[in-house]
């Protein structure tokens, strides 16, 4: 295998190095990539879409179709992880481990239907248990709302600063994963159940594709946000700006839900009882 690897690498490297001779120099402003399509984006995007962040304008308006399918890719990955790993709950014996907080003694309870353990001195622990430090738990609990607020800012301010739906969605998802890591998976799932994030994910993509279909139904081309001018009672250019915001919200929702979904499936191997 090593020999095959070296041969493939040498051949591919040779082809790539051969092409290196004709590349334009780095950061040359007169290279074909800078002269053909992108000057129109830079010069006209503000007057055509009223969004100062050119990357967001191109991402969500000019090439919005790509972005819709990109959101579908991440949704598809979430569904695949669910499809592969999720095992239904009914066929496992319920074994739980508890730890007496004062003495540190752990007990293992095979839970029948008659005796659930809900005493105050016992805390429920995972199989691979590590002490959940009070400092970590409290710090994360305080930080998580601010992280989410920042994520919402990133989504909403994507028009004017670097940001947008994907970035904000990932930060939102990361805040929930932080909850799952600092406390445990059950706490995070208690805040946002599996069914909720499995339904939020397609709803996010639905917002995106649905906006496009709405434009289609109003007689314009698919994803032509100018169609929204009639519904929102603004001129077509501002309607584009609002359309971009709507689809960014959809993207943020979908990405957040998928990140948490993939994390819960992978970290608990599909059983959803205990995470990392």
């Amino acid at each position: 295998m090593r020999a095959l690897g070296i041969i493939v690498v040498i051949l591919t490297g040779a082809v790539l190095l051969y092409a290196l001779g004709d590349f334009p120099s780095w950061a040359d402003p007169t290279s074909p990539a800078h002269k053909h399509v992108s000057p129109a984006y830079i010069e006209k995007s503000l007057e055509q879409t009223s969004v100062p962040n050119i990357v967001t304008a191109v991402l969500a308006d000019y090439r919005g179709y790509d972005t819709m399918f990109e959101t579908t890719v991440i949704f598809g990955a979430g569904v695949v992880c669910f499809f592969l790993l999720r095992t239904p709950r009914k066929d496992r014996a319920r074994v739980r481990r508890y730890r007496h907080v004062l003495t540190g003694m752990t007990i293992r309870v095979k839970e029948t239907r008659k005796t659930p353990l809900v005493l105050e001195e016992f805390e429920r622990i995972d199989t691979l248990w590590a002490p959940h430090d009070l400092i970590i738990k409290t710090a994360c609990r305080i930080l998580i709302p601010f992280i989410q607020l920042f994520a919402l800012y990133v989504i909403a301010h994507g028009h004017h600063s670097p940001g947008g739906g994907f970035q904000g969605g990932v930060i939102l998802g990361a805040s929930l994963i932080l909850l799952a890591i600092s406390h445990d998976l059950r706490t995070a799932l208690g805040r946002m159940s599996e069914r909720l994030h499995a339904i939020l994910c397609p709803i996010g993509v639905f917002i995106y594709a649905g906006t496009g279909a709405l434009c289609l139904a109003l007689g314009f081309n698919f994803l032509d946000y100018g169609a929204l001018a009639r519904i929102l009672h603004v001129d077509p250019v501002t309607a584009r700006s609002h359309g971009i915001l709507i689809v960014e919200i959809g993207v943020g929702l979908a990405v957040m839900a998928t990140m948490v979904w993939i994390y819960s499936n992978i970290s608990s191997k599909g059983k959803y009882d205990e995470g990392l």
């Binding site: 082809v15 790539l16 051969y18 092409a19 001779g21 004709d22 590349f23 334009p24 290279s31 074909p32 990539a33 800078h34 002269k35 053909h36 399509v37 992108s38 129109a40 984006y41 308006d61 000019y62 090439r63 919005g64 179709y65 790509d66 819709m68 399918f69 990109e70 579908t72 890719v73 949704f75 598809g76 990955a77 569904v79 695949v80 669910f82 499809f83 592969l84 999720r86 239904p88 069914r195 499995a198 339904i199 994910c201 397609p202 709803i203 993509v205 639905f206 594709a209 649905g210 496009g212 279909a213 289609l216 314009f220 081309n221 698919f222 994803l223 032509d224 946000y225 100018g226």
Partner: protein
Amino acid sequence: MSQHFPALLVTVPLLSALLISIVGWLYKRLCFPIAVAALSVTAYSSVGLLLSVMHEKEILYRLGGWEPPWGIAYRVDHLSALVLVVVSVVGLLNLIATQKSIQEEFPEKTGAFYTLYVLLITGLLGIVVTGDVFNLYVLLEITALTGYGLIAMGEEHAPLASLNYVYMGTIGACFYLLGIGYLYISTGSLNMADIASILPGLYDSRVVLAAFIICMVGVCLKMAFFPLHTWLPNAYTYAPSAVSSLVAPLMTKVMIYVMLRLMLTVFTPVFTFSRVGLSDSMVWLAVIAIAMGAVLALAARDMKRMLTYVIVAEVGYMVGGAWLGNRAGMTGAILHIANDALMTLCVFLAVGNIVYKVKGYAFKDLQGMFRKMPYTMSGLVAGALSMVGVPPTCGFFSKWYLISGGVQAGQYGFVAALIFSSLINVILFFRIIEIGYYEPFGADHGQGSSRVRTAEAPLTMVIPLLIVAGGLVMMGVYTGDIVAHVIAPVVPPALGN
């Protein structure tokens, strides 16, 4: 409404995939009807699109209302319309035929399965209809990801086979992405027609040549062209039978469509055939692919694996035909895309029926099947005859075009490989027919289940199979019309005679 067919074609399956995903959590029995409705709308739109493309020359649809190359555009010409019809019809027939086996294999996750199924079809439809190279990459990845997930839920070694497919498929997609990056750095555009108009000034550039080679290697990885085919036999053998009869006819053929698109539309035929200088080598590589596919199929231990090696050989037919560089060869390759999709669907559906009833796909599971499952076996025989190339099934006509193209181009190695492969197909399929007809139905039939009372497969599984078998003959009978009205306008006149 009909001017929005190109957008509807991809939007309706996408929206219904999302709907199925939500409904799967609430009420499972609705998933199948929604999927059938979505794919029926798609099949109807694709047939409508084919008819309107035959009237006008080509349909251009601007997404988001922006002019290409600043926005993404759909360009539907005869080739795209033909492959669209093939993809949507195959997807619909397979969906109806495999409903029972899906219910049996994935009782709790039907929502997720149908979501992935419809997303796969969406990705394939989008690949065929798009006119933008980067959009093609994103859709390629949707198709690939859903394919990985669907294949991995098979039996025993399916996750490992799917993981190997992940590795090789990702390398292929990354090479394609790199290739279009090279195209971008030299032309500055991502629209296929736009690149084709800028490229003639850049024929001597090393970057364009490297872009062509890298894109071709990436696409060859994804279409399982020998020797980059090693992921295919394991992945398609261990996949669930409902999934193998979906991906086997479609994925490799759509990749061949991508290769044709790159050869003919993006890098114009002048560049592909005269400047690159690789036509002969590609035809010889195709000859090796056909020969190795046939030989490895002979050595296969069970039915499904044998059929996957036959797919490898068929890919060799189409690649060789496309690179012959004349009208007959290109016509044969394009015709073979449609024909091979139908043939492969036919044989895989038949194998799926047998697996549903007998729970095994080794050769000994076929014993006495002619008496027990006559309709399924007659469908299998029809598919086998088409793969061998017996008139009036469609397989004969596409082989005819390929052989006459090979003779015209003087590539007698290619002709010899085609004939060799047909002879090997005769051996392979007649072996199956002999086991099914002459050997008695054993008492220890099936893998492990000793008291299997085998009867014919249920009606929903048999009727689509018979429809496809009938379609094979109809496609053969109407070949002349198809070639004249659908394929001939696509083959560029620059290819000469």
